[in-house]
């Protein structure tokens, strides 16, 4: 999991942000949540939500998905759709996590 975070964080730094629009902060929150979870700092997330989050990150980071990321302009549309769907399903958990971030550290 920590490895997934490392790879995803590196990848995310070079990804175009425009296709993700306002869900970008939630995508970043997913990454930080995975890190906090892997490090045992934050475990207050339901397992099925965690699965959704991990799946979305794996999809977004994988360059060879439905629309390969190398395609100009279109390459990240599918990733953005997957992330938006995952945000819809995990919104509450991510909001709770961000609230924890501002309280706890």
């Amino acid at each position: 999991m920590r490895e997934l975070f490392n790879e995803a964080a590196k990848e995310a730094a070079t990804m175009p942000r425009e296709p993700f629009g306002d869900t970008w902060p939630y995508f970043q929150a997913m990454l930080r949540l995975i890190r906090a979870y892997a490090d045992g700092q934050y475990i207050g997330v339901p397992e099925n939500t965690l699965v959704v989050i991990v799946a979305a990150i794996v999809y977004a980071v994988n360059p060879l998905d439905v629309i390969p990321d190398a395609l100009p302009a279109l390459g990240y549309l599918d990733d953005a759709t997957v992330v938006a769907l995952a945000v819809k399903r995990s919104r509450e958990a991510l909001d709770d996590f961000m609230a924890w971030e501002t309280r706890a550290r």
């Binding site: 975070f5 964080a9 995310a12 730094a13 942000r17 629009g21 306002d22 869900t23 970008w24 902060p25 939630y26 970043q28 929150a29 990454l31 930080r32 890190r35 945000v87 991510l94 909001d95 961000m98 609230a99 971030e101 501002t102 309280r103």
Partner: protein, 139 residues
């Protein structure tokens, strides 16, 4: 509906509450103690704010709070003064219950806050995105 939304955005931006908030933000930006007090007030109040009017901007709102904390702690200062003032001003506005549409009015009390936040995100998105990239690379 769209026109109504833009009118509201204009009125909120031009409101005395927001002008005052930006003025206060100028002094806050140079004062880590004041920033810390603002951050603590925000985290106290944020639990009672309804998230619905802010929609997905909520994620950026949270990023603003974390940026302010990282700034007063001296961990992260990679933000221009002008952008920092807008971010602080937006937070002050959102926390002020007596703004253009007072926050206790059911249903609409936070619509003006949401337009101010949208304006601030539009102006400072790059700063906030870079901050979040820093966050996931720092530890």
């Amino acid at each position: 509906m769209k026109r109504k939304a833009t009118t509201l955005a204009k009125r909120a931006k031009g409101s005395r509450t927001f002008t005052n908030a930006l003025q206060r933000a100028h002094t806050f930006a140079r004062n880590p103690k004041a920033l810390r007090a603002l951050f603590e007030e925000a985290t106290r109040k944020v639990g009672s704010l309804p998230r619905a009017p802010f929609k997905e901007l909520w994620g950026y709102f949270q990023a603003m709070l974390r940026l302010i904390r990282a700034y007063y702690r001296g961990q992260y200062r990679d933000v221009s003064f002008a952008n920092f003032v807008i971010i602080i001003g937006a937070i002050i506005y959102v926390l002020d219950p007596w703004d253009l549409m007072p926050d206790w009015i059911p249903g609409v009390g936070f619509l003006d806050d949401a337009t101010i936040l949208a304006f601030a995100v539009q102006k400072t998105r790059e700063t906030l995105d870079e901050f979040m990239t820093w966050e996931s690379g720092a530890a």
